[in-house]
Symmetry: none
Subunit: 198 residues, 4 copies
Amino acid sequence: MQTPPGRRPGRPRSRRADDAILSAALDLLGERGNIAEVSIEAIAARAGVGKATIYRRWPGKEELLVDAVATLRPPLPDLDEGSMRGDLVLLLEQVCAEMDGKLQRAINALLVSRAHPEIGARIKHAVLAPRREALYQVLRRGAETGELRPGADPEAVLNLLMGGALLHRRSAGGGSPRACAELLVDTLLAGIAAPRPA
Amino acid sequence: MQTPPGRRPGRPRSRRADDAILSAALDLLGERGNIAEVSIEAIAARAGVGKATIYRRWPGKEELLVDAVATLRPPLPDLDEGSMRGDLVLLLEQVCAEMDGKLQRAINALLVSRAHPEIGARIKHAVLAPRREALYQVLRRGAETGELRPGADPEAVLNLLMGGALLHRRSAGGGSPRACAELLVDTLLAGIAAPRPA
Amino acid sequence: MQTPPGRRPGRPRSRRADDAILSAALDLLGERGNIAEVSIEAIAARAGVGKATIYRRWPGKEELLVDAVATLRPPLPDLDEGSMRGDLVLLLEQVCAEMDGKLQRAINALLVSRAHPEIGARIKHAVLAPRREALYQVLRRGAETGELRPGADPEAVLNLLMGGALLHRRSAGGGSPRACAELLVDTLLAGIAAPRPA
Amino acid sequence: MQTPPGRRPGRPRSRRADDAILSAALDLLGERGNIAEVSIEAIAARAGVGKATIYRRWPGKEELLVDAVATLRPPLPDLDEGSMRGDLVLLLEQVCAEMDGKLQRAINALLVSRAHPEIGARIKHAVLAPRREALYQVLRRGAETGELRPGADPEAVLNLLMGGALLHRRSAGGGSPRACAELLVDTLLAGIAAPRPA
DNA sequence: AGATAAGCGAGACGGTACGTCGGGTCTTATA
DNA sequence: TATAAGACCCGACGTACCGTCTCGCTTATCT
């Protein structure tokens, strides 16, 4: 055993520096809206920190931004609306709302762009996963209550909903997040196959 | 009609330069897989062209890459499978397949990232639109043949399918594009609401 | 009939173009004061001429500027002051006066700088030579009238006077060209050796 | 005394970089012989230095070259020949010899060309001044020993000699520096006015 | 208390690429 | 064939960041 009581020698890293760096990175990512226009030098300057203090902690810009984004984890809405449809709409509404705003667009870019897949994975894990997990729980409860059709693959449902939200916010332009969420959920609930004449 | 008899004075721009630049840009985007690692200097060098010849045509790297990507327009698959489901699966299978590969990841980044929204719009128009249009026609024909449930909003259906494909390829990892497409289409066709007991 | 005895075929070169180019070149050389900041593009633009029209006439910027400078040949002052000293002062005064002004500084640079010696030679011939020749005639007449000490090498005298003027205008700063010329001429006339006691 | 104990923060500038840059600049100036053909990029490459390291120290090419030239200060010849004439000849011989060689021609161009007069002034101060000062001392000693005619303006004498050397090396072409120096000094010593018949 | 060791802000380092400018050449249509 | 216009390839310009490397200092732990 080495450090918990027996700490590393030398001056310990400064928590204040960590916070200042992450916060400056998010600020700038929000302002510039584009990962390419956020420079380490600008982050260091705004954080009042030397560049070496950043490179001591992260190997490069992207890793830093991933961690910065990961600190966001906005609180999920309270659920328990009583019905699976209500909960799905509630969650999807938040996802839709988050599509707006420069910071979110930048995050999406981080999600989708990377050559090095591990980075996309980490941000996915940190930011996307909580939303997926919440949706997943709603579906599971729906299965228990019988609201979810047996045989529906929850993974597929999840991706349909979230991907649908991602694209619909852009292609269909305006409209309230609420309306968008309701349309998507209801379409998926009902399916699109014509009912057999019976 | 613009100037066929009265042409602009001076040497006209070289078609060969246009082609060389666009093709070099795509090459490099495919190789590097990351817009940030494709440099104008490298494009100019590979195209055998001066940098000024590029900047005379495009204001910057991103605009150039957008146009380069827009020249891709891979052919859509032949449809006429006989059923709406078959056609949807066929189209979605191609979309799923296109998610793999460095070039496509780079394109996705361009799609989603931009601060200047016009650029995202142009690439959307050039690359995404044909696929959306094909899906749209399939849905319209399904409505005519009665295979599509009346009341289903085609726009929403479209976004659910394409967004679902986008995410499912990543989250569910492996699997053939075919299987992915079938799962998504079937899930959406059937809907996820439990059938009313009746 | 095409050519007085036999003219060259095709459109003849435009005299107006020659004039416009040379005049624009001098203008810009005067304004910018520095050969490096005079661009062929600017000359062509100001002259209302295509760049090719310049390159058809001169092989490069320096040759063009040499020719432009050579068109200056400002008139020399009338002499016949009656005495060698008077004429020398008159000529040297003009040389001193010409040291001021951006154009002259640029010309001096052309005179002194060139790696390719032929160009310096041509401008020397065109601009410096007339002044030297005038001084030389004054000295020759001085020799005839006995005002010039026999044995004085006219070439050396000439160079002492003109070089002296070149430097004295700069080092001694202010002062009228007249005073400068008189000081130099009188110093050289009297010599600097102490008179033998005898 | 400035800040020996309280130093500027950050990494101090590298002496080795200074030296490498100045030396590379002189090398190239000597090779190319023409300020316009010496590029900052070439200097940086030869010095093994980034361009920014140059621009951190000098605002542009000319200022750098001025400083580079200023480091030359070749040693003046030992004097004490016993006579004023001997010393003058010795000094002027060196000045004449320095007219040859590409580096010196380039320096002369710097001296004479500049639009911004301050730069010419600095190089004048660094390179020309020592020679002028040496000549000046010789003249002063000549005045003390009575070899210099009372009433001769030392400033004018100086400019006559150095300017004469500058021009004579070019106009009179060949000849040894020694012969050139002797001719000029003797001409000026004796003066050019015919001795009054008395 | 002093030594040791690492972190700190600052900023210079060697580089890469940027977007601009100008050089000298080439290619149009027109005169 | 010359002309005005302007595109062509090339390469230097001066700037902005990259990720690394000193500096002098501070802040801990370990003798």
